[in-house]
Amino acid sequence: MGKISKYVTYRGHEGQWSWLLHRVTGIGVFLFLLAHILDTAMIGWGPKIYNETMAIYRHPLFRVGEVILAGAVLYHALNGVRIIIIDFWPESTLAQKKLFYAVVVTFALIFVPAAIYMMAWMVK
């Protein structure tokens, strides 16, 4: 196996995927935070510059990105709770697969309606 497998392999099965997704969403949200600090900083140059900067985020590509970002934050938050539960309550390790599916189901229950609502501008 090549080098990549070394980076993406970890304990296998649900544990591996939840772990990999946690890292990927974590990096994604952090990178956006850097961009968000820069866009917010534009407010120091007054209404014209700031409003022009915000207009970039109104582009359809960014509005789709916004939904993906919200999904990344939500997954990272819910999976983080799973990690904390298992860390501080070791008996729950026995139910770790169920906990992961609980994360997936909770994610879907919140994300699907939120995403549909956030995408409503498309049909207006």
Binding site: G26, I37, E66, V73, F88, T93, L99, W121
Partner: protein
């Protein structure tokens, strides 16, 4: 092997970082989801502009909220990247260079973000 996250370190700064990730994680869960609900569901990018921020920052509440959230999220993310550098950057030299760049960049961005939140003056004429 127990735990879903990184094994709890024995002590020192690594244990502090491990605890910080979990404590800040819980606080951020609430703060960021409220932030998302207000800025991306109740309001959205169509209505967010200079005037919107000026109104929001007219009282200290949201400034304080945003500053606390910024610091927690930023240090949480910075520590996450630090852990990944430790995991993925094998050579000692590159690890040192990566970590040093991370801390310098991190300092600049966190300082800039804090400065914007603290010094924005809605009453300033343009």
């Amino acid at each position: 092997m127990n735990g879903a996250g990184r094994p709890r370190p024995q002590g020192g700064i690594d244990l502090l970082a491990w605890i910080f990730m979990r404590v800040s994680g819980v606080v951020l869960l609430l703060m960021v989801l409220v932030h998302l609900a207000i800025m991306h569901i109740i309001n959205n990018i169509e209505v967010i502009n200079y005037h919107f921020v000026a109104q929001r920052y007219a009282t200290p509440f949201w400034r304080t909220y945003d500053l606390v959230m910024l610091w927690l999220a930023f240090i949480h993310g910075l520590n996450g990247v630090r852990v990944m550098i430790d995991d993925y950057v094998g050579s000692r030299g590159w690890r040192l260079i990566s970590l040093a760049s991370l801390y310098v960049l991190g300092f600049i961005f966190l300082a800039l973000g804090s400065l914007v939140i603290l010094t924005f003056n809605p009453a300033r004429p343009f």
